[in-house]
Subunit: 270 residues, 2 copies
């Protein structure tokens, strides 16, 4: 029997999910996880409480609860359920109040909402990443915080998007393609913004797998082509002293945070 | 004097940031926040400990620490600093061990890494959102989990990207443009996938502000045009019984989670 987990919030429930997922992923068991966002009324809270209690009756096991509910009346209804509440936010509020010498002023939707000052800048960064993906234009590089460069399918696009979405960073990206390889050099537009350039590379075998699943049995996906492109581009990075990382074993979060850490770019939080 | 905050991790530090940000945002004060990801060696941990101690000496106030370090030796070095450690993950591990009747097996990089089974599906979803943005092609709608429709700049693109990035959902999007308005109807390709359609709308005044900052004093950004487009598209949603939400006061997280909650699409977690 897999243990039931309830993520509950009067907002998006994203914080509750991320926290619960981080804690539960340390346990080598499967969980049946369900998320209840926007529980903003007593009636909705009672519905969720009933689901929790039903689950307890059916399974004989208390469901685990991770909530980020700010309203005390709504919270009280969830507390009154048969679930086990791991109250990850409030556990730390009292010690922080004591340490900071001020009272917390919990308000709903304080994170993950447009109330955040930098929200518009973040949306601009997302549109910037979209509009300056894959070298489609070189006109807006002046605005870029960072310009990711590398061979096709080494992770530039997801990393650019993640940088914009999570951290509000304006990231353009530019691919080196097969035709560039014979005499590989930086285009003048990139040379002009050389300090913003950051290279991504990847193991040729992994690149080949990725390209194969996209365009099976093409020249583009051949082992020989992948090896050659990676070698040429890495030589360019070294020749031009462009910082770069290998993305083979890294997730988009890991690539993005490594780029920030190596470039010293500041993160915004939302 | 703003209080110093250290986010420290042997991974990306994204979980630590999200947790700390959620707790601290309840306090009506400014914090000076700095993130130290990939603290994977004792030497690096000692460097961070020195920074924490320096900060204490300089400011006379203990820095606040939110960490997600798995390795006990590295963690011990951070514990030994002058900072105040709000140990948000480990606080809940012991009670969960007792409740689940098994020992936690903490491993670094268990979240936000490619070790996650669904990682490739998520990257596919991100590329899908990019490739099927803004109605550039209607060829891949069969694959879509959801198709967002609405006027230009009502939030379709950031929402599609967020759905793919955070939840692994394949979201296409399609804009209704000025030329469509005279006799607005669903194109046959969208009609075919009507069950996947989800509408976004926005208050005309807000739309006008957004368009104005993009293309100042154009017909596209005129109050009259914005009012007309929103009215026509909302009438279409109602006529065709397409579910829709108003994005005016919602962040990309709120829009995405409302879409999930109204469509019943399942979230993946990474």
């Amino acid at each position: 029997m897999t243990r039931k987990v309830f993520y509950i919030s009067d907002g998006t429930a994203i914080t509750a999910e991320i926290f619960g997922h981080a804690v539960l992923s340390q346990f080598p068991v499967d969980f049946e996880q369900k998320t209840y966002p926007f529980i903003e009324t007593l009636a909705k809270a009672e519905e969720v409480r009933n689901l929790i209690n039903d689950s307890f009756i059916t399974t004989g096991e208390r469901p685990l609860i991770f909530h980020s509910i700010v309203n005390p009346e709504i919270r009280a209804i969830i507390y009154s359920s048969e679930g086990l509440d791991y109250d990850f936010l409030n556990t730390f509020v009292a010690p922080l109040e004591q340490q900071l010498g001020i009272k917390a002023e919990p308000k709903a939707h304080r994170t993950h909402s447009i109330a955040n000052d930098s929200y518009n800048a973040r949306i601009d960064a997302i549109h910037y990443a979209m509009d300056n993906d894959d070298g489609v234009t070189m006109k807006n590089l002046e605005e870029a915080d960072v310009i990711l460069i590398g061979v096709s399918r080494c992770g530039k696009t997801p990393s650019s998007l993640y940088l914009s979405m999570q951290f509000g960073i304006k990231a353009a990206n530019y691919p080196f393609i097969a035709e560039d390889m014979e005499d590989l050099k930086l285009p003048p537009e990139l040379k002009r913004y050389k300090k913003k350039l950051f290279g991504l590379t990847i193991n040729p075998q992994r690149l080949q797998e990725i390209r194969q699943s996209r365009l099976a049995d093409s020249k583009y996906a051949s082992p020989r082509q992948c090896r050659m492109e990676v070698k040429e581009v890495e030589m360019l990075f070294k020749r031009e002293r462009i910082p770069f990382i290998n993305t083979t074993n890294s997730s988009v979060e890991e690539i993005a945070t490594k780029i920030l850490s190596k470039t010293g770019l500041e993160r915004s939080m939302f």
